[in-house]
Structures are given as structure tokens and as C-alpha cells.
């Protein structure tokens, strides 16, 4: 479990997060939603130690985040940032191979190769594994990077808006793949999403943030409502129920 207690963060005197208390449950898909500038990405980057914690406390599986070494953390938690750029030509297979770095330190063993082959298969990258990243479509590239993070074989995987620039088919297939894999392997995925319908449709748990605070958290069916949309996003949209899942009419 990831325990976040009283976390605050300021950038250039501006408060980004204030007094964030949050427990991210073990297993399944947790979606972080909220309006732009709510502090979702900042919270995620603090949990992944991309930025230094200014105040408050974060614990992972009962261990204080600051006490975990870089090497150990990389075997426990992986993060995929929003903007992914690669300066050099690298093939899909090599990229996924980087996911094994925390274990292999660059020297891939037979077990690493086995895992890479498995991951390429579960993310349906077999056919394009020799293609270079810069020749891929946006959806394929996102899938390749996600596969890399998956190959890291960590208990926790943090994804920052992976659906950006993806069309509906690529988005749906990525979300359902993540949901299935997380359930199969008992991993915990925390994902920043913009579209409430994707959060409601695939996540087991929704955390809504607004203006640097956690507004509500719970299962989609309990959280997503017309009142919720008004409170968090300041918008009047109708919410209907479709097979027990709430659906926002946009």
C-alpha cells in the first residue's frame, strides 16, 4: 500500500499540493482524476521520487520513501512520464529490454530475455519488435513504453496520462490490457486520466483531486455522480448508469 500523509508542495512560492492524505490500495487500477492543475502529476512525481518531498510523508509497503535506495525503489515502483522523447534510434525490443535494467544492470540474462519475450507478447509488440521507435504511430509508441515499464516487474506502476494523443481504439485496448494484466499478476497501477468515462469504465478505485487537495476517493460507482462533476470540475453534465457503471454524457 502507498500511504501519503499531509504532503504539501510548492513551486516558486505557489502552492501545488496542500495537506494531501491518501491511501492507494494494493492491487488493481487506481485512477487519479481532476481538472488541469489539480496537482495529479506532481503527486505522482513525488511518489516516484522524481521531485524531492518538501513536506509530509510517503510510505510504500510500510517503508519510508526517503529510506529506500534508488536500486531498490526501481524494483518496487516504476513510473512512465507524460512526455516521452527519445533522442536516438532504438528498437522496440531494446526499449523493453531497458525495463530489466534494475535487475540486469545492462547485462541481460536468460531470465530477462524470457520476461522481455513475454512482455512483448502480452503487449502485442511481437510483430514490430525490430522497428525503431521513431517509425511507430503514437499508439504503438505508448504501448512500447508501457511495455518497458511493465517489464520492470514492479509491484507499483505509475502512469501519467498514457491516453494522451491516443485514439479510442488504442485507448480502450491499452486500458483493458492494463486492467487484465494487473488483475492477473496482482500489481497495483496508478494512472492519471483526463476522461472520467475511462476512469469509471476501467478503474477499481477513483481518486479525485482539486486545487492541490484530495476531494473524494472510492469505487467509481460511488464516486462519479452529477454532484461530483459539479464539485470537482465545475461543470454540469448528466451521468447515466450503464450496467452498474456510471457514464458521463458529454
Amino acid at each position: 500500500m502507498i500511504r501519503i500523509r499531509n504532503v504539501g508542495h510548492q513551486i516558486a512560492g505557489q502552492s501545488i499540493l496542500q495537506g494531501v492524505d491518501l491511501d492507494i490500495p494494493q492491487g488493481g487500477l487506481t485512477a487519479l482524476v481532476g481538472p488541469n492543475g489539480a496537482g495529479k502529476s506532481t503527486l505522482l512525481s513525488l511518489v516516484a521520487r522524481l521531485q524531492t518531498l518538501q513536506s509530509g510523508q510517503i510510505e510504500i509497503n510500510g517503508r519510508d520513501l526517503g529510506q529506500i535506495s534508488h536500486g531498490d525503489l526501481a524494483q518496487l515502483l516504476a513510473i512512465l512520464p507524460q512526455v516521452l522523447t527519445s533522442t536516438h534510434r532504438i528498437s522496440v525490443q531494446d526499449l523493453v529490454g531497458f525495463g530489466r535494467y534494475p535487475y540486469s544492470r545492462g547485462r541481460l540474462g536468460p531470465k530477462d530475455r524470457e520476461i522481455i519475450a513475454d512482455v512483448l507478447e502480452s503487449f502485442e509488440l511481437q510483430e514490430i519488435k525490430h522497428r525503431f521507435l521513431d517509425t511507430l504511430s503514437g499508439g504503438q509508441r505508448q504501448r512500447a513504453y508501457t511495455a518497458m515499464a511493465w517489464a520492470q516487474d514492479t509491484e507499483y506502476l505509475l502512469l501519467d496520462e498514457p491516453l494522451n494523443n491516443l485514439d479510442i481504439a488504442a485507448s480502450r485496448s491499452l486500458m483493458s490490457r492494463l486492467k487484465t494484466l494487473a488483475a492477473q499478476q496482482g500489481r497495483t497501477i496508478v494512472i492519471v486520466l483526463h476522461d472520467i468515462n475511462y476512469a469509471a469504465g476501467y478503474a477499481d478505485h477513483i481518486v479525485a483531486m482539486k486545487a492541490g487537495r484530495v476531494e473524494t476517493a472510492g469505487p467509481p460507482a460511488e464516486v462519479v455522480s452529477e454532484a461530483f462533476l459539479r464539485a470537482v470540475f465545475d461543470t454540469d453534465a448528466r451521468v447515466i448508469l450503464e450496467e452498474e457503471r456510471p457514464l458521463v454524457v458529454v
Binding site: 516516484a48 524531492t52 534508488h70 512512465l80 527519445s86 536516438h88 531494446d94 531497458f98 535494467y101
Partner: protein, 314 residues
């Protein structure tokens, strides 16, 4: 395919080196050979050191048109040298062994670059670009300070400084050469050990953290290694701004790989071929008196322009 290209590179280096040693030798063979072996060694050392430093710098800055000299590394070396000559006077400077001076300069340069690094990266998450820009401005400052002090010192000190701070591929002090060779080999060893880590560091700012490679520490270590390499090449031959750029862009062309295990040896080979081959063509074939540094800078500058213009058009 890569193996074949490496074979070609090695072959090319062997051929230019052999030609360099033998072509047009007159008089006593043993004397000529000894003289030329020394010169060859310093050319290979400098070529290898500058290209390694450039590849390392481009890896940690994720930018293929930056070089350590753009960031004022060699300007700082010259400033320290100038201050030493200014402080001790030409007489005092001549008394201290060259190797001692070199080592002092090396230590000061390393300390200065680490200080710059920690100062600029202290508060925010790796803002490497800010450090590079600051480095460019500081480089200008260092160069201006060097010019300023040159106005102040007396002519004999100025002459010492001139000969100590210009790119010259002909005279390298044998003791200095030996110390430099040892230092560069040690650095190469350290770089080779961290080649896999360099592959990860090249992935950007965030992914190395996620993969547990601690970019901040990696960048610090790499900057220290770069300081050693730049000190060596600047001490031996003076500043060569564009050689690294010329070699690194050739390397990425010839070896289309992201493995530093491939890139670094190739860069060392290509650096050697460029310098030795260039010197060979200039000296033995064209009988030019133009210093090689001028030609290398001219070619390197052209490559720089081409890289920038091509980046702009795509």
C-alpha cells in the same frame, strides 16, 4: 554489420598510423621513429580524449550539438593557467615542473566543474539545460578574463602564456604525455565500466530515475570524468573546440547504435583517424604549414553549421 564497420575503422587507424610513422622519413630511422611515435601517441590520446568527453557530454545533456568546450570547460582551464602564470611570473612558472602544474590545474578544474554542477542543480530537479546555458555564459566570462589578464601581464609572461595556451599538435612534453596517458586510460576504464548506465542516462530525465540509475549522481560522475579528459587534451594541445563535435557526429553516422559499448570505442577510433589522418595529409602530402587545429576547427565548425541548419529544416 557493426563488426565489419569496427574492422574497417581499426584497419583505417592502423593504416594512417603506419603511414604517419614511415612516410617521408629522412636521416636516422631510430631518431625519426622515436620522435614520430611520441607525436602519434599524443595525437591518438588527444583524439580519443576529446571524442570520449564529447560523447559523454552529449549523453548526459541529451543533445547532440553540445560539446564540453561550448560550456567553457577549456576556457576555465586556460583561466586557471593564466592566473598561475600571472601569480608566479614567467620565471616562477618555468621553475615548477610541468606535470605538477598540470595536476594542480586538473584538480582545480574538476573542483570548479563539480562546484558549478552542485550549485546549479541544488534546489530543482535536474535542470541540466540551465546549467549548460550558465556554462556558456561563464565560458565567455572566462575567455574575457583571460584576455583581460593578458593585457595586464608583461611581454615575457605573455609569450609563455601564448605558447602554453594555443592548440599545437607538434610539441608535447614527454613527462606530461606519460601522466596524461595514464589518466586517460584510467578514465576510459571508468567510462567503460559505466557504459550500461550511460545507455540508461541517455533515455532522458525521468526514465533513468524510474529505472533506478540516479541521474543526478550519474551526471556528477560523468562531469568529473569529462573534466579529466578536457584537462588532458587542453594541457597537451590547447583548446580544440569543434574536434569533438566533428568526431561525435561522424560516430553516430558510422555506428547507428545506442549502446555506449559500441559508440565509445568507435569515437576513440574515429578521433584517432581524424587527427592522425589530418596531420598526415597536411604535413606529408600537402606539405602545409597550416596547423592541424585550424583545419579541424574549420571542418568541425562546418559540421556544426550543417547540424544546426538540418535541425532547423526538419
Amino acid at each position: 554489420m557493426l563488426r565489419l564497420r569496427f574492422l574497417w575503422l581499426i584497419l583505417a587507424l592502423v593504416v594512417v598510423s603506419a603511414l604517419f610513422l614511415t612516410l617521408g622519413a629522412k636521416g636516422s630511422w631510430s631518431f625519426t621513429l622515436l620522435f614520430r611515435v611520441q607525436k602519434l601517441a599524443s595525437l591518438l590520446l588527444i583524439g580519443g580524449a576529446v571524442s570520449t568527453a564529447t560523447i559523454l557530454f552529449q549523453t548526459i545533456t541529451h543533445n547532440r550539438i553540445l560539446t564540453p568546450s561550448i560550456m567553457g570547460f577549456d576556457a576555465l582551464f586556460l583561466l586557471i593557467l593564466t592566473l598561475m602564470i600571472f601569480g608566479m611570473g614567467a620565471g616562477g612558472y618555468a621553475l615548477v615542473p610541468k606535470v605538477t602544474l598540470f595536476l594542480i590545474n586538473l584538480i582545480l578544474l574538476t573542483l570548479a566543474s563539480v562546484a558549478l554542477f552542485t550549485l546549479l542543480l541544488r534546489d530543482q530537479s535536474s535542470d541540466l539545460m540551465r546549467m549548460v546555458l550558465t556554462g556558456i555564459i561563464l565560458g565567455v566570462l572566462f575567455r574575457s578574463l583571460v584576455l583581460f589578464i593578458q593585457r595586464l601581464i608583461d611581454p615575457s609572461e605573455f609569450a609563455v602564456l601564448q605558447s602554453a595556451s594555443f592548440a599545437r599538435f607538434n610539441k608535447a612534453d614527454p613527462d606530461l604525455l606519460l601522466v596524461s596517458a595514464a589518466l586517460v586510460c584510467l578514465t576510459w576504464g571508468a567510462v567503460w565500466r559505466m557504459r550500461h548506465r550511460l545507455d540508461v542516462l541517455a533515455l532522458g530525465e525521468v526514465l533513468p530515475v524510474s529505472l533506478g540509475a540516479d541521474p543526478r549522481r550519474g551526471q556528477l560522475v560523468v562531469l568529473m570524468l569529462i573534466s579529466v579528459l578536457v584537462s588532458v587534451s587542453t594541457a597537451l594541445v590547447g583548446p580544440v573546440a569543434f574536434l569533438g563535435l566533428l568526431v561525435s557526429s561522424l560516430t553516430y553516422r558510422v555506428i547507428p547504435s545506442w549502446h555506449h559499448g559500441h559508440l565509445l570505442p568507435a569515437a576513440i577510433l574515429i578521433g584517432g583517424i581524424t587527427l592522425v589522418g589530418g596531420q598526415l595529409v597536411l604535413e606529408r602530402i600537402l606539405h602545409f604549414e597550416t596547423p592541424l587545429a585550424v583545419v579541424v576547427e574549420c571542418l568541425g565548425g562546418l559540421v556544426f553549421l550543417i547540424l544546426i541548419l538540418r535541425k532547423g529544416s526538419t
